[in-house]
């Protein structure tokens, strides 16, 4: 298994090379002139623009830009943002908050989603199942901004249970409300996935065998139904961590959380390659790592799945 894991981690290298190259190509093809836009509506002379362009290697062909980035990255120099700050600093500030928020959301959606999904699956077609279906539908159809706003208004402003915004104080408690909002959409997926698998597995032969052996319903559900039903859920969760990190743009905005999502969002809007590339590199690491963890979990959930 260790050899398997090591090989998987080594595969990160080509993935990072591929994705960063792709980013440089995309930014190169991106319409507009990011350097000109630094000066806003106001005029600026060409000589100053050229100066700044050279400062960010924007005057080079994108292949060379990419190579220069790699060269810097080896020495942990990820370049500078248009604000003149080291991208490594920007990422180092935003990353801890983001990973905390995303992990909290992941735990919330996993726990609530699996519990609700299991109950819905066990009572397929009953009231609870229908309630969960309606909840999922609402979560899908109503914009996340609306949920975030309403929860912020009720729990943050009216009841005062939570601080309405997070700002600089990113404690566990302060991040709880945003984590719940962030978890909502994925919750819909997990409930649906778990419910379907549980309902399907209830009639499986090994479950019947377990029941026949006289095991209590609780034990049957936990050991035999759930464990076998979790593969799709775990797969989804594994891919979701990255999405929660990079995709928290709206939630970060509503609750004023200085995270990776908005860092990347603004960098993309500005065409700030060093920041985009650095964030994407981190996201690649997250995705490769989570997919490894998921694969290892498969083997634990279903011992018949083996890896060479």
């Amino acid at each position: 298994m260790w050899w398997y894991a090591a090989r998987r981690i080594l595969q990160t290298i080509p993935v990072i090379l591929g994705s960063t190259l792709l980013i440089y190509a995309l930014v190169f093809l991106r319409p507009g002139d990011p350097i000109r836009a630094i000066f806003g509506d106001k005029p600026v002379s060409d000589s100053v623009i050229e100066q700044v362009r050279a400062q960010y290697n924007f005057d080079q062909p994108f292949l060379l830009q990419w190579l220069l980035f790699l060269k810097g990255a080896i020495t942990l120099d990820f370049g500078q943002s248009f604000t003149g700050r080291d991208v490594s600093d920007l990422v180092a500030e935003a990353f801890p908050v983001t990973i905390k928020l995303a992990l909290m959301a992941l735990v919330i959606e996993a726990v609530l989603g699996i519990v609700a999904g299991t109950i819905a699956g066990l009572r397929k077609g009953k009231l609870f199942d229908s309630t969960m279906l309606v909840t999922s539908l609402l979560v899908i159809a109503v914009p996340i901004f609306v949920f975030g706003f309403v929860m912020q208004l009720i729990f943050g402003v009216k009841l005062g249970w939570f601080p309405p915004t997070v700002g600089g104080n990113t404690s566990f408690y302060n991040l709880l409300l945003p984590a719940i909002v962030l978890a909502l959409v994925s919750f819909a997926y997990i409930v649906r996935l778990t419910r379907t698998s549980v309902a399907g597995n209830l009639t499986a032969d090994h479950v019947r065998t377990a029941r026949a052996k006289g095991l209590s319903e609780g034990v049957v559900v936990r050991r035999h139904v759930l464990r076998n039903s979790l593969i799709p859920t775990v797969t989804f969760l594994g891919a979701d961590l990255g999405a929660l990190m990079a995709g928290a743009i709206v939630t970060e905005g509503i609750f004023n959380i200085p995270g990776i999502g908005n860092l990347a969002f603004n960098a993309i809007k500005r065409g700030e390659t060093p920041t985009i590339v650095s964030v994407v590199t981190i996201m690649v690491l997250v995705y490769v790592l989570t997919s490894l963890i998921v694969d290892l979990l498969y083997a634990w959930l279903d011992p018949r799945i083996r890896y060479a």
Binding site: L26, P143, F145, Y189, T203, A246, V294, I305
Partner: protein, 324 residues
């Protein structure tokens, strides 16, 4: 001759009197009874959920084909003086901020939104399903390659790719019309949506391919390909269906994000996503919530009908559920 496990029976061997299918003692028979797909259709027809979703989808189809049957208002005629106006004769749900008829826009928006949702879901399910099945089934180098490419697509921000690709489309085809606009959005969302399905399908196939009945089928000489299509895919596809039906709604909403930036559907194309996202700023004032309520309800009903359809298809494909 030892009796092989039948695909319809899965992992336990029932007493022969409980299995009328026992008559078919070879999986190599090409005809109907061994085919899960045909059996599924039979089951589907018996399921009330299927009929509920069919009725909803029929209504939706009528709206898509002829939205004008249900309103006389023009969804593209917007008078600012009507801005956020209340319901009145001929305008049952009032007006949005631009002074357009909310009801008419919801009816006419169905076409683009459902097109985006359904087409993207199909693209993603096909692309993701195929690559996932391949990765899970073949393993080894194919798995490595497919999985790592999907990692790259996961990590590339959709927004950046959309800005690049859709701006290019905008510049090359400024007048790309309805289908041009829809297809561009479908392509952008599809390009970045498939890895999720790939992973789900791969995990599912990894699980199913170790089931006894698959081994059994292999043991009696079913070819790899036949095994994949006949036995593994039908048993592994359930999570893909579930994910896809949820994603269908998500894609309809995601179109709004692109359109909001001016990258999505052309201005002349009405869509729910666009209307929902422009209405969200009204939430703070707490007034004129009808502007959001109507398209959200339409979206909820659409996703509901597809989820019910997905559920009934899934149940039909699952032999165990049939017995209940």
């Amino acid at each position: 001759m030892p009796k092989p496990t039948l695909p319809g029976q899965e992992r336990y061997v029932a007493p022969i009197d409980e299995t009328p299918l026992a008559a078919v003692d070879s999986v190599q028979v090409d005809e109907a009874p061994a085919s899960q797909w045909k059996e599924a259709w039979k089951q589907l027809r018996k399921n009330p959920m299927f009929w509920v979703s069919s009725v909803l989808l029929t209504i939706l189809t009528i709206i898509i084909i002829a939205p004008g049957l249900f309103t006389n208002a023009d969804p593209r005629f917007c008078e600012l003086s009507n801005s956020l106006g209340p319901a009145e004769a001929g305008h049952p749900f009032g007006f949005d901020k631009q002074g357009c008829d909310v009801w008419a826009r919801t009816l006419y928006g169905a076409r683009a939104s459902v097109a985006v949702g359904v087409l993207t879901t199909l693209v993603v399910a096909l692309l993701g399903g195929l690559t996932g099945a391949l990765a899970g089934f073949k393993g080894g180098l194919s798995d490595t390659f497919i999985s790592r490419v999907s990692d790259i697509f996961f990590a590339i921000p959709l927004l950046l790719a959309a800005i690049v690709c859709l701006s290019a489309v905008n510049n090359w085809f400024p007048d790309r019309g309805f289908w041009g606009g829809v297809l561009a959005v479908v392509a952008a969302l599809g390009l970045f949506g498939w890895p999720q399905i790939t992973r789900i399908m791969r995990g599912s196939v990894l699980e199913v391919k170790n089931y006894e009945f698959v081994d059994a089928a292999r043991a009696i000489g079913a070819s790899n390909q036949r095994n994949l299509w006949r036995h593994i895919v039908p048993n592994a596809i359930s999570p893909v269906i579930v994910t896809s039906t949820v994603s269908l709604g998500i894609f309809i909403v995601a179109e709004a994000t692109l359109s909001f930036l001016g990258l999505g559907l052309p201005f002349s194309v009405v869509s729910w996503g666009n209307d929902i996202s422009s209405a969200q700023e009204l939430v703070r004032s707490g007034t004129s919530l009808n502007v959001m309520f109507v398209p959200v309800t339409a979206l909820v009903l659409t996703v509901l009908s597809f989820i019910l359809l997905g559920d009934s298809v899934r149940d039909a494909l699952d032999p165990k559920a049939r017995k209940r």
